[in-house]
Symmetry: D2
Subunit: 348 residues, 4 copies
């Protein structure tokens, strides 16, 4: 995935991180700013967030607000592993491809990466790396990490996810779900957040792309699988002193229907985009569009002309595949404008 | 430093992190929330923050917004060290005593800790651990890390700091200033932020305690000493996707006089507190009060009765020394109420 | 690669580590045992080893005896990388597949692993992961690590290696050669050890499999590429106090023709094994036999019956591919006995 | 401790690592060199070593041969700790002062170092750092690590050690004994090796200084306290392929009385040295001589003249304290020669 820094970012499709903060989240932040609160999470809003987590993810669940998705992932993976254990994940996983090596550099975690057609593991794909248990020469697989929705914008169906998680558990692996876009998954699957992470022992729950500012969390669903999250959040530089302001964002998004509204909207915009752009000759949509991402191939010269007008990423330099992301504030007008650009460049 | 979790935190003196966010910072955050901006720091506010940094810290300076002070410190120390190098710091340094071991756990950094009377290093104290260069059996000192103001609320005078930094540089060490409370130092010293970090190669610049929400930064003053800060910020899980909201806070605090107003106020409140409480028989102020911290000893039973009413930390269980912190929103009334409590308990 | 622990190891083909120590090496160890010598490498034998290294690998070369191959690799890779840099290597590389995750766990090194048909990288294969320079989200490739001879027993020709190294250098990567079996490579290529590592900046030079006891080394060929090897050897727990005994082994093997005799013999035995066993119907030799390894497929039931008699590894459970290693003390009789077993089991 | 590299090492007192290998150990190595053995510890000698360990350290004990003392320590400490836990040890501990930072750099272990008068912890000294349990800001003490005999050549009496270990266990800490010179401790205490490590959960058992070549081991006494030593030995680059040769050394030393003979001799030589040199005016023996080390102060100019003739270390540049080590092959003649030199220089 390479950048095109000189293009115009405004109303672009490069990332769902280009959007700002949803007004309801901003209001929640402002409301949290009243007088003194105990620092580091012993505040009222974080207590309320714990209640939400138990309601949503089960009575044993615990939630730990953190700063960003990489932080959530690295804390979660450490909590699930012994020092000598490793993680099996798709080759496209954010933890491998897009975190600058944070899991390895910070936590010494080896990743066994599996090539996949659509960013999703299957039991058979998991088996290609989940073996060698007890053999000291092979780094011991201890966790399966999957992304819901995946980096290709695809979603695991609930039963598919449960079957995969069951298979991992049978092998003795713990299950981590990178839910940077779990809201988009639940929206497309028509289920709850918890159901969209069926079988997970621990979840990285993402609020930032869904309309938050700095609003991620580690959710421990199965406390028997995870150790020391509170300590690891501190050592991993993810403990916010004025935590109430992160908790306020997470509550605003998830303890109500804002997450659903935002995700439904972003997903719908991606559908619209795929429809409009997929109808243009020479453009091929390469992945099924289930959430807020559209992947497509188009001629390289068209891509570069488009990138001069709209900022977006070339996902794969070799195939010319590009990625377009929709966010909670993408408008139908944005789509139509962009589709018109594509059509114009394609015929140009 | 142990916690007294059952006490009432409201308007307490446990930490300058209990305060909320200054209204001007909150407004700046709201103003930043307009439409799309490129993520990860390629936005307009972060560009303006760079201009501020060059204006304040010199034309070669670079600033890197991060999430928290521990993150700033760990990124900064990695940037200054080879894999085999270590850090000399006071035994009370936040990086050693209060970060859960983050520098060691995350970055593999050995800390050579030096006992000090007041939280400050001197050239002679530095020499007690800065030796053995070239001897492979001894972890190689590569950095001197000091805190301004120190964890004891004491400040290095400008010439004192310059002389210490010069000594470190002569030994071949780089100089890191943990400036979680650099504003309080500059305010008490009557100088600029840059002058309060005289001789530093790299600074952890803290905005959160000064009235921000999530607003810290690594400032590279001497680019010849630091390598790869942009990469290290990413691997250290400190790269904010919607960075404009951190930059907005830092600009609101530092590109103007808000930092100075807030620090002057907090410092003045600490002076008032020391005066009022120091005048009570049986209370001994143990450190010179230069910034927003007051350290004192008082009878253990008085301390526990007080902690039932006001949340604050016992700094040293053995000596009974306690720490009281003032913040940007501490009021004279808070001080008087607290001083009256101390007097009442002391005579009770 | 899974183990068959109940089989008989004697005169087996599981590993070239099953052999003992060559008598000439043993004599050298005994000769080194005379009185006091300065510890940690300031001894006469280690000084002589330095002379050998400069003679063999060039006037700027430096050699650092270490304990084992994993240690040599991890020290070498650290010396070539910044904290945020990663390593591109074949998916079969020992550093990825067979070191229990040591590079990641101990040194925080991300490995970008590339599937290959024969355990060897090509410029085009290197390109599949050596990209994204300057993009902080992608772990920065800093080193190309290849194995000579590869884990599949294949050798890079000298020109092939030079071209590959040149390509890596053009991309800004440093070049590491894992030479656990560099002697076997030089023997099969008919060249010197240095020529067999053409283009390397740093080499892990292996003596143990070649007839040593504990006798590995890091050889820095290009001091401009590697930093701090002496410190890293210490922090990586690879500094031997009585180093003279490792240096004595390395001198015995490499400062003369013992390495060549041993490697030629082991390679020849593998050729004989491939000939004898390859002639048996139902056995397919799967990799070109250039050094001391033979890879083959044969029916799964034959493999298990054979493993009851002779200890060896199934390399790939899915395909049934097995690995047979010859060592410096493998005899033609061993081969004939084994080939007879294979023939008997195949027709059984 | 700084080096004086230009002095003459022969028959010196710089380190017990300057001595060679005891002839009985050398013979054991030679005897181990018979044909093929399964690599990585599945060999007959390592099996016999396990029997010895159970006999000596209890029926649940397990022994893991490794390469060097730093390796043994780092493997042992990892096995006793969670990722967020730290180690309390004397400031003089080898793990802190003399391993180049290996515990921090390789294993991310924070060390809480305690100043001591004689290199030994007491319950009260342990308490100065073993606190803050459950408080995430303070790195969580998980292990007490002590050295027997200490780096000052002092020994913990058996009851002293048991009481200290009991205290540590009551605090919830595991107990690690760095037994690089455990033989010297057992010899001076008149007890078994196991008794000299009373209360330990895990021991770094040193053979190299006692007359071995490369012969250290991790001994797990309490398997309930230690996890994953076999995996950690591999990830920590301490797994020897031809392990039988290390096991042979350990058996030669410890499964019989060789360790005792060697340690008794070295200890006796240190006593003689202390007597002879302590009787010279101007020389002050600074630590009680219980094992094979003698610490003394003498005038700085005398020290430098002596170091021109005999290699030894200045332990403390500030006080002029020096260290003289005796080894298994130190002779009474060596002592007399050296004492004569001291006397001559002192009167010179």
């Amino acid at each position: 995935m390479t950048d095109s820094p000189d293009s115009n970012p405004w109303r672009g499709f490069a990332s769902d991180n280009y959007a700002g903060v949803h007004p309801e989240v901003m209001e929640a932040i402002a409301r949290a700013n009243t007088g003194h609160q105990v620092a580091y999470g012993d505040d009222e809003l974080t207590a309320r967030l714990q209640e939400f987590a138990r309601k949503e993810f089960g009575p044993r669940a615990e939630i730990f607000p953190v700063f960003n998705g990489t932080g959530a992932n690295v804390v979660a993976l450490q909590a699930l592993t012994e020092r000598w254990e490793s993680v099996v994940c798709p080759a496209t996983a954010h933890i491998s491809a897009d975190e600058g090596g944070a899991p390895e550099v910070m936590a010494g975690l080896k990743l066994w990466t599996v090539p996949t057609p659509d960013g999703k593991l299957t039991p058979a794909l998991l088996d290609t790396e989940a073996w060698g248990f007890g053999f000291v020469h092979r780094s011991q697989p201890g966790v399966m990490s999957i992304t819901q929705t995946s980096e290709y914008g695809t979603a695991y169906a609930r039963e598919e996810l449960q079957a995969l998680a069951d298979h991992a558990h049978e092998l003795g692996l713990h299950v981590h779900v990178d839910g940077a876009r779990l809201a988009n998954a639940a929206a497309t699957l028509g289920c709850t957040l918890a159901e969209a992470a069926n079988g997970a022992d621990i979840i990285s729950l993402g609020g930032t792309k869904n309309g938050g500012m700095i609003s991620e969390a580690v959710v421990v669903v199965n406390p028997d699988a995870a150790r020391g999250v509170d300590f690891l959040r501190k050592t991993s530089m993810q403990l916010s002193s004025k935590m109430r302001f992160i908790s306020a964002q997470l509550l605003a998004l998830f303890d109500g229907d804002l997450w659903h509204r935002n995700a439904m909207h972003a997903n719908a915009m991606a559908q619209l985009l795929a429809e409009r752009v997929g109808a243009i000759g020479g453009v091929t949509i390469t992945q099924v569009v289930q959430a807020n991402a559209v992947f497509a191939t188009l001629p390289a010269d068209v891509t570069s002309r488009l990138q001069a007008e709209h900022r977006f990423y070339t996902w794969n330099e070799a195939t010319g595949e590009v990625r377009w992301m929709c966010s909670w504030d993408t408008t139908a007008d944005d789509i139509e404008t962009f589709a018109a650009s594509v059509a114009a460049q394609m015929s140009g």
